[in-house]
Structures are given as structure tokens and as C-alpha cells.
Amino acid sequence: MNERLTHDPGTAIAIIGSGGSGAVTAGLILLAAVGHTGYYGLLGRSAGPQIRGGESAAMLRFGPHPVECMGDHFDLLVALDWDTVGRFADELPLACTSMILTDARHDEVPAVLGGHGASVHALPWRDLASTLPEGRVNMVALGSVGALLGLPFEALEAGVRATLGEKGERILAPSLAGVRAGYASGVDLGLNPPRVSGGGAAAPVAARWNLSGNEAAGLGAVRGGVRFVAAYPITPASEMLEWLAPRLELLGGSLLQAEDELASVNMIIGASFGGVPSLTATSGPGLSLMMEGLGLAVASETPVVVVNVQRGGPSTGIPTKSEQSDLNIALHGLHGDAPHLVLAALGIRDCAATVEWGVRLAEHLQTAAIVLSDQILGQSRAIVDPLTDQPFGGAGQAPLQRVIAPLADSDHRRYRSTATGISPMTLPGMPGGMYTADGLEHNEAGTPSSRAADHLEQLEKRLRKLTDFDYGSAWAEIRGEGERVLLTWGSAAGAVFEAAARLRAAGSPTKAIALRLLAPLPRAALLDALGGASQILVVEQNQGAQCFAYLHSLRVLPGHASSYARPGPLPLRPGEILDAVERDQPTREA
């Protein structure tokens, strides 16, 4: 991959305001506008715990190359008001080169923002808005920011239409008028705006997707063939369900809102037993409730997929903020010896690819797959390249699917211990294939059995089908080469890729490995990828260094490997990873 792709800093903007100020709407429009102009972009959002009307912030980073994480600081902070900034201050790193734009009628920049040395510019948004019928400050501010950034007006207009078009002309017209007024006023401010490096727009506008990680995960599900979803609402997974509900109906499937997660996981087991690829989505508290059901899926060899959109834990934790702290339960939460799949999406676009892969693997291997996403992937939006068919290679190869038993097999045994461990399955409606799926240990025919030989045979086949399978190269994304390895998993990949790219650009060869498949861990492939690395830093967003401990338990890491793990809710930024690399060096050499 082109070295430039991952370390061009692009431009980072935060728009903040109290509830109802329209900060997030302005961010969504700006994302669509930069997308229209031909840039890639990433829009994160932060909301307070209030159900409605709390403070909110939109954080946008965009540039000519795919944007995979938030940067170290914001170039531009747009404060629609300062009423609630105290709750966000630590999410708004600024540098001395940053600019703060604020309304001329507002108070001074609050001290909580700290000694950043950023320049402050007061603009007459409020006064301008008051001259317009139904004028809104956020739209005027958006227009002036668009002008500062050098975006063409038609891009802003397209962004407004794409974002608010569904609301009708009554909302659209005053919004556009506000943006236009702000745009006109902003052009001659005489400031030096933080433009995208290289200036101007990127290559001609190619077809790109504008989607959130939760939407991408929903798309991955239906691409993988999922036609039944049962789920119980939970932050931050609900948008995935909201995206899926009407669309599954169009595809001939359905979504059933269950009474709880104990029900939802069992519902998808039932639907999958009926032959329909099935999935549920949840977050930590719901995943905890699903564990017994997942064990049933493993034992009865019924394919199911759980997309777990992680949030701060334990317990109710921080529902609206991100953390990678459910790896332990995903790996180890099932009782008994219950081998299953654990995957993690490496980015917003990758939510689609990894969920699709998870569905196909679960179907083919007749097991449970837990796909880990998290709040920051799920609830952020990005402009990305569309996914190709078969995202993980295998061009010309038939996509993985469930192995169905031939009807004519007179010696059909549902749980036959085959060489691969995969036993061809029959489905209700198939004459002659009747069996009772069971979570009780059973023999090859499915008859309950507590004999040692049956237990061992079935345990071994359920393990073998996972460990002997060839997962190809999709188990990880590996970028760059070097004696130093930054090893990570899931959503931390974005910041790690950027940190590694910056190290390489600074002449310090660094390889980044981001694990997409965590269980079964492709140990040999990972050992090979680690090679004789002289420095290994395992990066993740949780307190307990969960992945680091897991890799150690499987004797993958050499003694000198170290860990950079910190809990959420603040997003991982490349700069702190570089600091951790720096700190790690002297200790190892000592």
C-alpha cells in the first residue's frame, strides 16, 4: 500500500454545541460535502448521557486518502456555543497551530480547553442568522467553515441535500440560505485556513460510500446471506438493527424484536436450525446474557453470529463511549470446552467485510461467531471505497456456505465425525434427515450420550473443524515491514496503522499487524508474521491488556514484547502510540 495513504494528516475539525445546537447535523453535512468534493473522511461523534438534548460534538477528519482514525489534535474547533464544553474538553486536543472559531456574541474561550495557544476568531454567526427567516446558527457557521476550508459551495449544497433532503423543502430552504450566507461572509475573513495538505480537491470523484460502522455491519450481514435477525435494543448497537429491520423485509427476511437477549440468541439458533442464516447484535450486557445460548449453538453445531458493539464496561459502564474490553468474555465466556469463532472489525468499511466473513465462516463451520465492533466504529461515519465482491480474495472461488447433506444418504448421521470435522447437515422439511439437535452431549447420530468415547469424539470434531480450516490471509491486515512490530486488533487498527506509517516515514521501519481473527488464533501465521521482531508492542483499548494476555497464554509473544493498553472512553490517537513506542525502547535496551 502507498506509504502516503496512511500518514497524510488531512484536516481535523470539531464542531461542538449544547443539545439542539445542531453540531452533529453540521458535521454530517460537512462529511457529505467533503465526500462530494472527492475526499475521504471520518466523522466521529460524542454525545452526553442525556437521552435528548444533551451536549454533542461532531469530529471530522478528512483528506485525500482513506481516514482510519482521529488525529492527534484538531486544526479547527468550531464552537456553536460554549455551554457544555466542559464535558468534552478532554476529547478536544488542540495545538498551537489550531484555530478556534466562536460566535462574536459568545463568552470567551473557557479555560478548560487548556493552554494550547490556539488562535481565536470571533465570527458574527448569530447576527447573520438573525437576519434570515428561520436562520440557524449551525448552518451559518457551517457555511463560513466551508468557505474557510476552500470547499466549493456546490459541495456544501450537495451535503445539505444529502443530509436533510428527506425532511422536505421547509427545512431544506432555510438551511441552504443559512449555509449560503455563512459561505459568503466567510470568504473574506482574511484568515489562513487549515487546508488539506497539497490543497484543492483530490482525484476526480469516484463512487464512494458514506456509511456508519453499524450500517456497514448490517450490510455485511445481508451480504453474507443473513435473512433472520432477532435482537433486543442496546446502545451502541441499535442503529445496526434499525438499518436491518426494513431492509431484511425487502430481502425476504425478517427482524424480530425479542423480549431480552436470552430470547434473541435462542431465536437465531432456532431460525438457523431451520436453514436461514441468522444473526443478532448487542453490546456487553447483552453478550453476557447470551453466553449459555452460544454454548448451545456450539454444542448443537448450529451456525449463529453475534455482532457485539463494545462500549465502556463493566456492568452498564459507559454506554455511549467506546472501549475494547469485551475480548475476554468473547474468547472465554462460554462454559465447557466450547471452541467458537471470534473476529474483530478493523475499521468502518471493515465492519462490512468482517461481518460478512464471520457469517460465511459460521455457516460453513456450523458454529457460533462473535464479531467485535465498538462504539467508535459503530457510531462513526466514513467516506470509503465500496466493498468488492468477496472482500477477502477467493476470486472465482465459490463463497463459503453451509454444507447440506445429500438427501439420498441412507447412512446420514447428523454429527458424523468427518475428517474435516464438518458434518453435513439436514434441514427441517428434508425427508429422511430427521434428527434432534441437542446441547446434551451426543453420539454421531445425535442420541444423547455420556460415554467418554462419544464425548471425546464430539469434542475433537468440534475443535478440529475450526483449527484445521484454512482461513487464508484474511486473519490479519499487515502493513509495512520492520524489526519493530505494532500488534493490535479491532478498532485500534486505525491509530496503529497511522502510528506505524509515521514511524516508517520518519525512517524507522515498522510493521503493523492488526488481527481480524482472534479465535481460533492462526498461531503459525502470526509467529511467521512476527518473525524475529526486535520490538513488539501490543496496542489495545482496555485496562487489562486482554489481547496481550491472550497472546501470552498461547505462547505467541517473546518475553521482550510489551503492552500499551489503556481503557476508553477517549479514542486511541496515533501520537500516544508513538509515545508508547518511545517509552518502550529504553526499558527494553536496559
Partner: protein, 278 residues
């Protein structure tokens, strides 16, 4: 295939699998198994078109003994598993079996919501007012002063759960009660339950020979319900208020909207992807 061949008549024994039940001699659950096979034969349902779904308990062992598709799931979760199956495969006849502990205690929440959801399922609860499989503890339907369990030596002290009343309050559209000691009545009720369009709840008084031998008395206690099956909720409520728990028959039956998936294919995933293009 339109081959002009007659499907041979299926007999009750064709629905019995080769697996021998684990049940104690004299257990009421045998009569339920027999009624299930007779009802399926009466309805001439294709074995491969029926799915028996259960949780955990002595009663929940039943699916393995029936020669149809089956799923012996986990304790308390038979109803959701069956609901998912029925949502995905509306073409199947789905029958759920289990015990009073499975259905009213650990699975109590699912019971309420299955009644409300009114999917086209048949739910047979083999009620013996005890946890048989775990060797005789009090269940939700056990009398408050039953002292024979070591876990509740002074009795549970809890008012028993009223399955029919609670099913009614939760919106069930078909409520019936049968008795293992009345196999032909039970078969008739089961046929009616399977034929009912919607969620049909059939409580079967099914004595536990081993842990509740005194349930031999049930033979004397049961009586045919004197009222016609009510379809009027006010009448049904009145009847349920005076119900002694031993009235047998269809207690309530009413046509209510059935939860059904709306699966009509009108798009492909590629169509959905197009909406992301900006």
C-alpha cells in the same frame, strides 16, 4: 413432483423414534408422548414438516422420542428457539414441550411474551408441580406448604403460579388443560391446539411418580370444564376466577392477529448498497 402415488397413512407409531425414554415407570410424561404421536397421526402431518422444540427437564426430553425434526435446547429457552424457527420457517408445524419449571420459572418471561406475540406455535407444559430432573424441588406451581424438598423445608410459602390465568392475562389466544390420566381427551385437546391459528397453550397435569407420588389423587380431582370454551374475554376472565386448576378442556379460544414475518423478496443486497453511494 406430481407422481400420482398415494402417501401411505402414517400411524402413531411411525412418529415414535427408536430412542427409549429416560423417564421413571409411571411418569405422566409417557401419556403426553403417546398423545403427541396420536395427534400427529390424526393430522397426518409429514414427519419432516414437524419440529418438536424443548428446554431442559424430564419433560423436555420428549423431542428425541418423536420421529420428527427436533431441538432439545437449554433450560427455559424453548419458546424463543421455537419462535425463531417459526419466524424463519412458517411452513413448519412447531410444537414446544417442557415442564413447569422450564416454562414458568426460568422461562417465565418468554412465556408471557410468547402469549402476547401469538405466533402459530403449540406449547405443551407438562405440569407436575415439581422439578423432576433435579430431584424434587418446588416449582412455581407447587403448593405453598409442600415441605418435601430439602431446599424449602418449611414450604416455599409462595402462592402458586396460575398458568391458565397468567396466559390469559398475557394475551394468549388459546388456553386448554389436559390430564395425563385421560389420554384420549389429551389427544383431542392437542389436535385442537395444533389446529389453532396462533399461540396455543396446553397445560397438561402430568404427575411425577417419583417426587410427588401423592399426585395419584389427581385422578379424583380432575373434572371436565362445565363451560363451553369461551371466546369472549370477559366470560373467560369470570371462569378463570373460579378455576380450581383441575377443570379439563379448552378454556379459552379466540382468533387474534398472528405474528408473521413479511417475507416478500423485492430487493438484493446490491440494491441496498446503492443507497450508500454519495
Amino acid at each position: 413432483m406430481n407422481a400420482p402415488c398415494e402417501t401411505p397413512t402414517r400411524r402413531a407409531k411411525d412418529y415414535r423414534s427408536a430412542i427409549a425414554p429416560v423417564w421413571c415407570p409411571g411418569c405422566g410424561h409417557f401419556a403426553v408422548l403417546s398423545a403427541v404421536t396420536k395427534a400427529l397421526a390424526h393430522l397426518q402431518l409429514g414427519q419432516e414438516r414437524v419440529a418438536m422444540v424443548s428446554g431442559i427437564g424430564c419433560s423436555s426430553r420428549l423431542p428425541a422420542y418423536v420421529e420428527t425434526y427436533g431441538f432439545h435446547g437449554i433450560h427455559g429457552r424453548a419458546l424463543p428457539l421455537a419462535s425463531g424457527l417459526k419466524a424463519a420457517r412458517p411452513d413448519l408445524t412447531v410444537i414446544v414441550t417442557g415442564g413447569d419449571g422450564d416454562g414458568f420459572s426460568i422461562g417465565g418471561n418468554h412465556f408471557l411474551h410468547a402469549c402476547r406475540r401469538n405466533m402459530d406455535l403449540t406449547y405443551i407444559v407438562m405440569d407436575n408441580a415439581v422439578y423432576g430432573m433435579t430431584k424434587g424441588q418446588a416449582s412455581p406451581t407447587t403448593e405453598a406448604d409442600w415441605r418435601r424438598s430439602k431446599l424449602t423445608p418449611h414450604g416455599s410459602g409462595l402462592r402458586p403460579f396460575l398458568p391458565a390465568t397468567i396466559a390469559f392475562a398475557a394475551g394468549a389466544s388459546f388456553i386448554a388443560r389436559g390430564f395425563a390420566g385421560d389420554p384420549s381427551g389429551l389427544t383431542t385437546l392437542l389436535v385442537a391446539a395444533i389446529e389453532h391459528p396462533g399461540f396455543a397453550f396446553l397445560q397438561v397435569l402430568s404427575p411425577c411418580q417419583t417426587f410427588r407420588p401423592e399426585q395419584k389423587d389427581w385422578k379424583q380431582k380432575v373434572h371436565a370444564s362445565t363451560v363451553e370454551p369461551a371466546s369472549d374475554p370477559i366470560e373467560a376472565a369470570r371462569f378463570l376466577q373460579s378455576d380450581d386448576g383441575f377443570a379439563l378442556g379448552v378454556l379459552y379460544a379466540r382468533r387474534l392477529p398472528v405474528w408473521q414475518p413479511r417475507n416478500q423478496v423485492s430487493a438484493t443486497p446490491a440494491d441496498l448498497e446503492a443507497a450508500f453511494l454519495r
